[in-house]
């Protein structure tokens, strides 16, 4: 299954990936699997999305087809052609 995955600028900045395209195609079935594939491709992202035990950080947000997923939907099955956006939440003012 081919999923078009976008990474927010902040995530690409933290991972040193600002020179990379902001979207990429990933073969995976769920948002969590997509993230695993991308982190495998770009290990510099790991510390920004997972904690030391490998659990997803709560600052990691998923949007599918421009709609935010609830945490219980992170392992839901995606459809071919879905667009996944991965964003780091921030709270500065």
């Amino acid at each position: 299954m081919k999923i078009r995955v976008g990474l927010s600028y902040l995530l690409r900045q933290f991972g040193g990936l600002t020179a990379e395209p902001d979207t990429m195609e990933v073969a995976a079935s769920t948002p969590l699997e997509c993230l695993q594939v991308i982190v495998g491709r770009f290990p510099s992202l790991r510390q920004w999305v997972y904690d030391k035990e490998g659990s997803l950080l709560t600052s990691t947000m998923f949007f599918v087809n421009k709609e935010k997923l609830l945490p219980r939907e992170f392992a839901s099955t995606l459809k071919d052609g879905d667009e996944l956006l991965i964003v780091l939440a921030f709270a500065g003012g």
């Binding site: 927010s8 600028y9 902040l10 900045q13 920004w48 950080l57 709560t58 600052s59 990691t60 947000m61 949007f63 421009k66 709609e67 935010k68 609830l70 945490p71 219980r72 956006l85 964003v87 780091l88 939440a89 921030f90 709270a91 500065g92 003012g93």
Partner: protein, 251 residues
């Protein structure tokens, strides 16, 4: 009736369709609390005071530091060392002496949350940390007060509007946020604070479409605005049905 001074001060906004003296009166009668008088707050407060929001309560316990001045445009070098809330109040009083501006130089906590929002019609979230934002969200949801939210990081910003109980709340949106000291370019809170103020004015006037159920995302480097939908979380710890007063327990 608007005074001659008010007719003159607001002469450029009164002709807008849907505004007029009746709309201006809605702003004059509004009581608004702005939590945070930093980068976002500087922008929000200036816009709301200039537009003629009749009562503005500024809540911030910090003092002005040199390092604030790249983005916190309410303050001058001469304000360094002063409490932000009264300094902002004094600045806004010079901008618009026809409105009432009060300052509350306190940190927001569970203990003073009621006092912070007492008597106000809406809450502006111009804070700089998620835990306090979520506290404001709780009181907004429990009292049915609209909450206008903005956040920034560097050249990135986001904003949304919460109107309980119809819309998703901040807790539906945020489960966490990037920790640590946030770098901020002054222009970013200026943009996002202006978005928040726009939402407040629209809400008070009953004009336009609010950012409810939507998160506006701003990328200053790519100079792009985009938006995504946000839905209510039935299991939300703040606005989920079984967490609200009177909600049905044991779903």
């Amino acid at each position: 009736m608007l005074s001659d001074a008010e007719l003159s001060r607001y002469a450029r906004q009164l002709p807008l369709p849907g505004w007029g003296p009746d709309g201006q009166r809605k702003l004059t009668d509004a009581r608004v609390v702005v939590a945070g008088a930093g980068g976002l707050g500087s922008s929000v407060l200036t816009c709301l005071a200039a537009a003629g929001v009749g009562y503005i309560r500024i809540v911030d316990s910090d003092t002005v530091e040199m390092g604030n001045l790249n983005r916190q445009t309410l303050y001058t070098t001469g304000d360094i060392g002063k409490l932000k809330a009264p300094a902002a109040r004094d600045r806004l009083a010079m901008l618009n002496p026809d409105i009432e501006v009060v300052s509350l130089a306190e940190s927001i906590s569970g203990e003073n949350l009621s006092d912070v929002v007492a008597g106000c019609h809406l809450i502006v979230d111009a804070l700089d940390n998620l835990p306090t934002r979520l506290l404001l969200n709780e009181v907004a949801v429990s009292r049915g007060l609209p909450l206008f939210h903005g956040a920034v990081y560097g050249f990135q910003g986001s904003a949304t509007t919460v109107v309980p109980p119809q819309t998703p709340c901040l807790r539906c949106l945020y489960q966490g946020a990037v920790p640590g000291k946030v770098p901020v370019v002054g222009v970013t809170p200026a943009v996002i604070g202006t978005v928040e103020a726009t939402e407040v004015v629209k809400f008070l006037l009953g004009m336009g479409d609010l950012l409810t159920g939507r998160l506006l995302m701003y990328d200053g480097l790519g100079m792009r605005f985009s938006e995504v939908k946000v839905k209510k979380d039935p299991d939300c710890q703040t606005c989920g049905q079984h967490h609200l007063p009177g909600g049905k327990p044991g779903r």
